[in-house]
């Protein structure tokens, strides 16, 4: 029949082209004068870094990279950003996520606060329900939900950077909400594929506190903390922090202007002591900086406070510690008796111009290249940590005790007839003795 009936382009394809069309709009001439102040250029030269990754056989295709480049440019044009970076791509079962990592200019956090409370509210609701139960004369459950660990402020810890995602370059960028410690703790216990739909439910055990958007944000935080590395001395702590002798407390650093790039041979040295983590380690608690969960933050009601503090004094938790910022990756723990990183050169044939490339064995898909003063981190993968063993979901928690155990509620075997009689005999004896004593007392009284 008519050959054009089932011929591409399908309408979907045209739709996408129409979306991506906007990426190719030329910067209007009026907006041009800006490039004069080239000092502040938040847009990175993505094509240049992609060139290095490509030499290592990593990355996406050039056309896709270029589209992402244009999409990042759009992000820069529409937000007041201090910096922006192509974080990577997380593959999903239905769609993939393109992830951009940004930092806002100071004081420009655009509605950052609006979304914050959601997670905690749902928790408080649960608590309310529990209180309602008290009105009935049912036994009061002794279960106290573990104290909510407050999430880290935007700009610090796990929420130091903000992330935007989209499914296709050219599509709308969605800002990911800040991550809560509970989400990170739970994300560590589950292993789920991403679907590509931010609103999708995460059906898992233990139940994940949030939807895929939160799970995605939690995994991004974990991957960043585990795999974002830079050549040693590229960053340094700020001078005025120097007095704080143990590095652990320090959470900010600046670019070292005197940075002497290590030779490529040093960068791939198997000791890997020339690379350091520049993202803070996430503690088991799900935060980078440990908080004592028993000390309530000011936002909570004061009434409850005294009561609770009293009750919890006995089990004061031990503060958690992790490796400090700018810790060399040589101290990363082994993965299934393999080194945490595999290092190599981008070229065997012309080592003169090869760059150093490291691939994470802990987070397959994470990699970094380094050459002279350039380096960049990239993640392309499914968003899961490597495990040597099968994943097995955590066992359900032990069944909760409904009543405090005690004599009143403890069932005992019925007494036998002999026992009852013996008891009666003892009781009778006692009664008799008491009667005697009472008589004697009466006598005494009479004496006074």
């Amino acid at each position: 029949g008519d050959p054009s009936s089932d011929v591409r382009p399908a309408s979907q394809e045209v739709e996408l082209a129409n979306v991506q069309n906007k990426l190719f709009e030329k910067p209007s001439e009026e907006a041009e004068p800006e490039p004069e102040d080239e000092v502040e250029m938040p847009l990175p030269d993505l094509m240049d870094t992609a060139h290095y990754f490509e030499q290592a056989g990593l990355g996406l295709g050039r056309e896709e990279t270029f589209r992402i480049f244009l999409a990042l440019k759009k992000l820069v044009d529409t937000h007041t950003l201090q910096s922006v970076r192509f974080w990577g791509k997380i593959l999903g079962t239905e769609k993939n996520y393109i992830v951009a990592e940004v930092e806002y200019r100071e004081g420009d956090e655009e509605g950052q606060e609006g979304e914050e409370e959601e997670g905690e509210e749902s928790r408080e609701e649960e608590a309310d329900e529990a209180k309602e139960g008290e009105d009935d004369n049912l036994p009061t459950p002794d279960y106290k939900p573990p104290p909510v660990i407050p999430k880290e402020e935007t700009g610090t810890g796990c929420n130091k950077k903000t992330y935007f995602v989209c499914n296709e370059p050219g599509g709308e960028w969605t800002k990911l909400p800040p991550v809560t410690p509970a989400q990170i703790v739970c994300a560590r216990q589950i292993k789920k594929f991403f679907t590509g739909n931010l609103e999708a439910a995460v059906i898992s055990y233990p139940p994940f506190p949030g939807t895929e958007i939160n799970y995605l944000r939690a995994q991004i935080a974990r991957i960043s903390a585990g795999t974002h590395i830079s050549p040693v001395d590229y960053y340094k702590f700020e001078e005025d922090d120097e007095d704080d002798s143990d590095g652990e407390g320090r959470d900010s650093f600046v670019e070292n202007v005197e940075f002497e790039p290590p030779r490529v041979q040093e960068l791939i040295d198997p000791s890997l002591s020339n690379w350091v983590h520049h993202v803070q380690h996430i503690l088991p608690q799900g935060r980078c900086v440990w908080v004592n969960p028993t000390v309530k933050t000011e936002t909570e009601d004061f009434e409850d406070e005294e009561e609770e503090e009293e009750r919890e004094e006995p089990d004061e938790p031990v503060p958690e510690h992790g490796p400090p910022l700018l810790n060399p990756i040589s101290e990363d723990s082994e993965v299934d008796s393999m080194p945490a990183w595999s290092a190599g050169l981008t070229s065997n044939l012309v080592p003169q111009y090869a760059a150093a490339v490291l691939r994470s064995n802990l987070w397959p898909g994470a990699c970094v290249f380094g050459l002279d003063k350039k380096f960049e981190n990239l993640y392309i993968g499914w968003g899961h940590k490597y495990t040597a063993e099968n994943y097995s979901p955590p066992a359900p928690a032990a069944t909760q005790e409904e009543y405090p155990s005690g004599a009143e509620v403890t069932e005992v075997p019925d007494p036998t007839v002999d026992e009852e009689r013996a008891l009666q005999a003892v009781q009778q004896e006692q009664l008799d003795r008491e009667a005697e004593e009472a008589e004697m007392e009466e006598d005494d009284e009479d004496d006074d």
């Binding site: 490509e54 295709g61 791509k89 239905e94 981008t346 898909g365 993968g381 495990t387």
Partner: protein, 277 residues
């Protein structure tokens, strides 16, 4: 993926992170021609890459003059230039290799320790006898590649036909899947030698074309959802990713003869799959 045009067609898979560097492409372009000539292969395909801790293995398959499905040999290379034939393993040995876990090292002579447990005696006298067998990484590589190829290597429906003599050959009149079929899992067939039409119910069987539907389609693969089908470029390119063997990607440009696949991964099966969906 056919070696001619490999360096171009592999770009269709770039969105899943499958990429070769210019150096690798240039080397493959030269060495695969030499390989084809030296081994007298009818065609040479680039199969993929197994990423090891120290080095990686590049895998190619050579097709002889016979049946495209059967007359295949796998080869590996570590520098994209020198190619070695992978051994063909006895079933027992392959079984042994498959039970090894963990990452590949990247050294074909590396030896894994396999602890073989045999039950000796019968009934209550049965005892476990363990003896350690050394398995070379080269053997493990052969076993894993065979397993991956058998479990996930797919082709679009109609790309191959079975001739009257039972030979399986490229279908010259294959014009690609159309816009609707390309989005259905049942349009993609396992490219393996185990035709099993028993699973299919009688009603479905009635519509089958004997010369085309001699392969199993992937729709009933277990667990359900083990294939991720993406229409990329708004449907101008179909990508299928296996969730069982993470790193296996297949592409097809609907309405054209263009299709191919490659595996770029660690060579470990995703045994956690049921939990992850």
């Amino acid at each position: 993926m056919n070696s001619e045009g490999l360096t171009l067609s592999i770009e269709y898979l770039a969105s899943t992170g499958i990429l070769l560097s210019t150096e690798q492409k240039a080397a493959l372009q030269t060495s695969l021609v030499m390989l084809q000539n030296a081994q007298k292969f009818h065609e040479v395909h680039f199969w993929g890459k197994i990423v090891g801790i120290k080095e990686s293995y590049f895998i190619a398959s050579g097709i002889g003059k016979g049946n495209e499905l059967q007359d295949r040999k796998f080869l590996y290379s570590q520098d994209c230039m020198k190619w070695c034939m992978l051994p063909i393993l006895a079933d027992s040995r392959a079984q042994m290799c498959r039970s090894l876990s963990g990452r590949f090292i990247g050294d074909p002579t590396y030896e894994y320790e396999y602890i073989d447990v045999k039950i000796v005696g019968e009934g209550e006298e049965a005892e476990e006898e363990t003896n350690t067998v050394l398995v070379k990484e080269e053997d493990r590589l052969a076993a894993v590649i065979d397993e991956i190829d058998r479990e996930v290597h797919i082709v679009p429906r109609g790309a191959y036909v079975k001739t009257a003599t039972g030979k399986i050959v490229t279908n010259r009149s294959f014009e690609g899947l159309n816009n609707l079929d390309c989005k259905k899992l049942c349009s993609y067939f396992h490219f393996r030698n185990t035709p099993n039409t028993d699973k299919i119910n009688l009603l479905a069987k009635a519509t089958l074309d004997q010369s085309i539907d001699f392969l199993e389609h992937v729709e009933h693969d277990l667990p359900k959802g083990c294939w991720a089908l993406h229409p990329e470029r708004g449907g101008g390119l179909i990508i299928l990713k296996s969730l069982l063997w993470l790193g296996y990607s297949f592409y097809h440009v609907p309405g054209t003869k263009k299709f191919g696949s490659a595996y770029f991964g660690t060579g470990e099966k995703n045994i956690d799959l049921p939990f992850m969906l």
